[in-house]
Assembly symmetry: D2
Homo-oligomer: 347 residues x 4
Amino acid sequence: MTQFTCDYTEGAHEAILRRLFETNLEQTAGYGEDPYCDRARRLIRDLCRDDRLDVHFLVGGTQTNTTVIAAALRPHQGVIAAASGHINVHESGAIESTGHKVLAVPSRDGKLSALDVRRVYQAHWEDETREHMVQPGMVYLSQPTENGTLYSLAELTALWQTCQDLGLFLYIDGARLGYGLMSPACDMTLPDLARRCDAFSLGGTKQGLLFGEALVLSHPALKRDFRYFIKQRGGLLAKGRLLGVQFCAILENGLYFDLARHADQLALDLRRAFEDRGYEMLYDSRTNQQYPILPDALLAALEKDFAFAFWAKPDGEHTAVRVCTSWATEASAVKDLIRALDRWERA
Amino acid sequence: MTQFTCDYTEGAHEAILRRLFETNLEQTAGYGEDPYCDRARRLIRDLCRDDRLDVHFLVGGTQTNTTVIAAALRPHQGVIAAASGHINVHESGAIESTGHKVLAVPSRDGKLSALDVRRVYQAHWEDETREHMVQPGMVYLSQPTENGTLYSLAELTALWQTCQDLGLFLYIDGARLGYGLMSPACDMTLPDLARRCDAFSLGGTKQGLLFGEALVLSHPALKRDFRYFIKQRGGLLAKGRLLGVQFCAILENGLYFDLARHADQLALDLRRAFEDRGYEMLYDSRTNQQYPILPDALLAALEKDFAFAFWAKPDGEHTAVRVCTSWATEASAVKDLIRALDRWERA
Amino acid sequence: MTQFTCDYTEGAHEAILRRLFETNLEQTAGYGEDPYCDRARRLIRDLCRDDRLDVHFLVGGTQTNTTVIAAALRPHQGVIAAASGHINVHESGAIESTGHKVLAVPSRDGKLSALDVRRVYQAHWEDETREHMVQPGMVYLSQPTENGTLYSLAELTALWQTCQDLGLFLYIDGARLGYGLMSPACDMTLPDLARRCDAFSLGGTKQGLLFGEALVLSHPALKRDFRYFIKQRGGLLAKGRLLGVQFCAILENGLYFDLARHADQLALDLRRAFEDRGYEMLYDSRTNQQYPILPDALLAALEKDFAFAFWAKPDGEHTAVRVCTSWATEASAVKDLIRALDRWERA
Amino acid sequence: MTQFTCDYTEGAHEAILRRLFETNLEQTAGYGEDPYCDRARRLIRDLCRDDRLDVHFLVGGTQTNTTVIAAALRPHQGVIAAASGHINVHESGAIESTGHKVLAVPSRDGKLSALDVRRVYQAHWEDETREHMVQPGMVYLSQPTENGTLYSLAELTALWQTCQDLGLFLYIDGARLGYGLMSPACDMTLPDLARRCDAFSLGGTKQGLLFGEALVLSHPALKRDFRYFIKQRGGLLAKGRLLGVQFCAILENGLYFDLARHADQLALDLRRAFEDRGYEMLYDSRTNQQYPILPDALLAALEKDFAFAFWAKPDGEHTAVRVCTSWATEASAVKDLIRALDRWERA
């Protein structure tokens, strides 16, 4: 049985485990104040080409999103997000648990536009009873989105300009940022992105680490006292160096990006395989998550050997599933899946 | 200038002020533990024909909604509401400030159906990753709704049945409940309603009191320790008897319902006047709030003498406004407004 | 039975009720945006001799304290208070319900000193693991304190200087501020106090109003968006003018201060009566709350005609009670109580 | 330089790393629903000799404490703890961030007694205005305490009986539970402890794992929906099996307890060495944390080769430090430290 259900079914890339082994018995300070975290911070600043960035390391994505949003907003403010955004759907109300409303905007492709943001903003500020409503304070977007779609550099630039105009923080959830940046459809670099937001995360968990997200802060108001927020939200890892060691191991030689490119390539191979055989895709994803709409009979046949994540039921005879590749996916597994498709065609 | 903007532009009905005067120098216990509050509680239980109800008095509507919802939900639970529900739109994120998500359901008429509730419930419980999503714990509805529309007894019964089946609390926001019950279009009595929910509020602020909402609890789990919640949310009035005195004065002789009937009648007169002259209504309201869609030129003419609340701009030449009557509206004011309509027709 | 239990057993001073009657049927805007609130704001600014103050009106004291503290602190910050402070003991965890720790300092007389504040501050900032501890962000004190004691001008000046040095907000809970300022032992004026803090409340509920607290903000960071906080915490009264009308009625002719002076005088008469007869006082209060330590037999005798609030049980044969006068206390009631003391002495 | 500063300066015991390596490329379900977590749960239930226990795995201690306390308490309730308790001092207000007050009890040795609990409970329930105060809902204690001291079986039994009588949850923070149970001064077994509380944690981070705490729940009310709480607080690890694999590796052969015994032995050797040379201990610790009070000159000499954590400054010439051993401490390091003590004596 081969799992294509998600991008966190395996442990970590071997280079990371090896590094953990090598450094295991060293004695270092805790809570991220060790030389490995320092070095990983420098690596990320270098990759972003910006020395003024603050970098913190957290264990998981929900933790990262909640912490930065709670730190950015005042109690009467909310965060604008696509209705399909991770913070609106799949974090068990973590944002609300810190007192903040998610101002959800319906979106077909999982993306927000600058116009969406401006509309929410105006609907609030042009209302005479605005004090009875949650004030927009931040924009949350995911690159790539939960649907695998990508913001173009022009779209991000327009969003950033809008946020600057309106006095809103812009935060980018990059839980799968590597897969985004390495997609052939992506027209922005990491420094492009880093310059167009107040904060973003650089995901590790889904991209080859055992666990770990880097949170990169550029706005001075977000930087202040940020370690308190991490601690209060339960995210300050005692042996913080585990995060530093892992990010060093994957970043210092470009491995992070190589692994992401590998996964994207396999996912796009699968997409072409599905499309060539006439199956439609639920979303126009160019990254490591693909969403084919399959006849139920085909799906049943495939599921004897391959596992996918259920996504939607567009009609009584078809099912959309998520087919996910990762840093750990073997090319042979993809070939096997394509071969199984063919077998079914011929049968 | 005559105000039709809302139902809280005046003070209180004279009978209430008089009673406050008469009892002013009596010395009583604070925080709602006085004989007037006790008597008002008994009056409400009698009106509901249920001796087991707990009744608390709070100052305002947002306070009442927030307090009962915070008391009912566990941290991982949310409250299902129509997207236009007061708690979702006009309480500055008060519900979220207590840690809970409002699970908003789009609705044309401002009402939720039993089917809506069942769908939200199933979408949650049928998802394998349900623990990543907010669990529905309560249903919030307003009678009448924020659009002036009414639930029928059959609709409420279906909702109540569904909530009972699914283990959800049902709470009814009755900030304008008198206006609802006294509408000729309403087919339920107060005991009908009281038997079909776990908690409801009986609004005073908009119905003749200076201020004050009665919160009626029937579910034992909500009753427990409820005064702590009121205190913690800042709602335990030191001179609590002010609430008891007012509710006694308006309830013991049916004044509460007489005033509501009066306002509804005037509002329906206005509705007929608008419709007879060919103006459409934005919502099918049968209560004290009416929402005519008026040509901008007519509106400009009327606004020389009358004030309304802006509601929506359906097209470039029309505006929907809220025209609100109340316990304090004089029949002559309504006649003046209808006469002004006629003047404009003839001009 | 005469109540000396607290200062909110009656309704309101007659002048206030009369004014509510006179203005009752006027139509005004809601939520504190009416001419009466505007006029009351101007009166308070004039009394403080500072045109730059923002003034908001809220219904109750817990609401006022919670709202201003929640608005001032960031999530990782706490508020320094005497352990006996109202926010630490008698608000049902309202401060904690907004996410903030009360950093309680033991205090004999209910007061904080500048040195106390500096010690809490240093204990935090000199600790290497400070990010694991709540950061002090504000100082809360009550004038007069919950024990009836008073800060001198020199003490307040030192606290204010310290807060300015250390970057802490200073908030003064003035639920009984009138009783404090009118005490013969008080050496500060209202402008003195207003110039030595970032925010303070001017209580109405306990000083002659039906209900209502004025919250006065001088620090620009607190002023911003403050109405949102009031709404979110359920404190934005629909018929907000009721607060404005009451504060106008009591402030425009000095009535507020006359009533407080009256209550203080009666309380000090009582104190002298107790002390002359050899009874000790639990606290050195110079305001309207007195805390005599009485033999249990005497107390039992007095309680046939007078009610007090139980305070403490210093030993098996004595009880300390709170004897509270107010704007509504009649001189004859105090004389009756003193006569009863004498009767017991002679018996 | 040898670190005795804390028990999390190294990575993990080699057996754990090896197991992570061996299982690294297996594909498993996420979020703790894998066979390794299942097996680790069974091991813990077996060690506790109770099949009905629910076991969850979280990453860190603050996360664990906050999650279980937030799940247990209703909004108006607080948790009783020794003033020196971790949740009161060193979690950056995490408990308060979930809305709950820590009801702190002063304690010399870091322990709470059954009498302490009963007093806090009675002070609340015997007060007539109890609804104005936070209601006690849970008792928090640490075994061993933050001072290294231990509860005896009799003390724990009395606390448990008291909590049962009073309807309070009892939660035991076992971040260093292994070091506690393996101390020669400890008279309870793991099943003894498990039967005398509603929930406890079994710490991994400080006892040989890279990271990870097991949270063991016995009370049915705590078990319900607990995974939602973990997710909402950001603690549901995507690759949850990392926790299961580690706990399996350390528990299935008794390694967890062997490592703890080793650390305790070395710590007690150090204690004797200090005491034999006439140095007093700040606390009577029998576990892996020792707190000698040293002359400043001696400390300065030792700190050339050894690092400790500063703890207190009892007078101008002495300093109390924490000397901490762990699963990773080598016997030779302890001998070196004792030899350094001797060198200073002779000099």
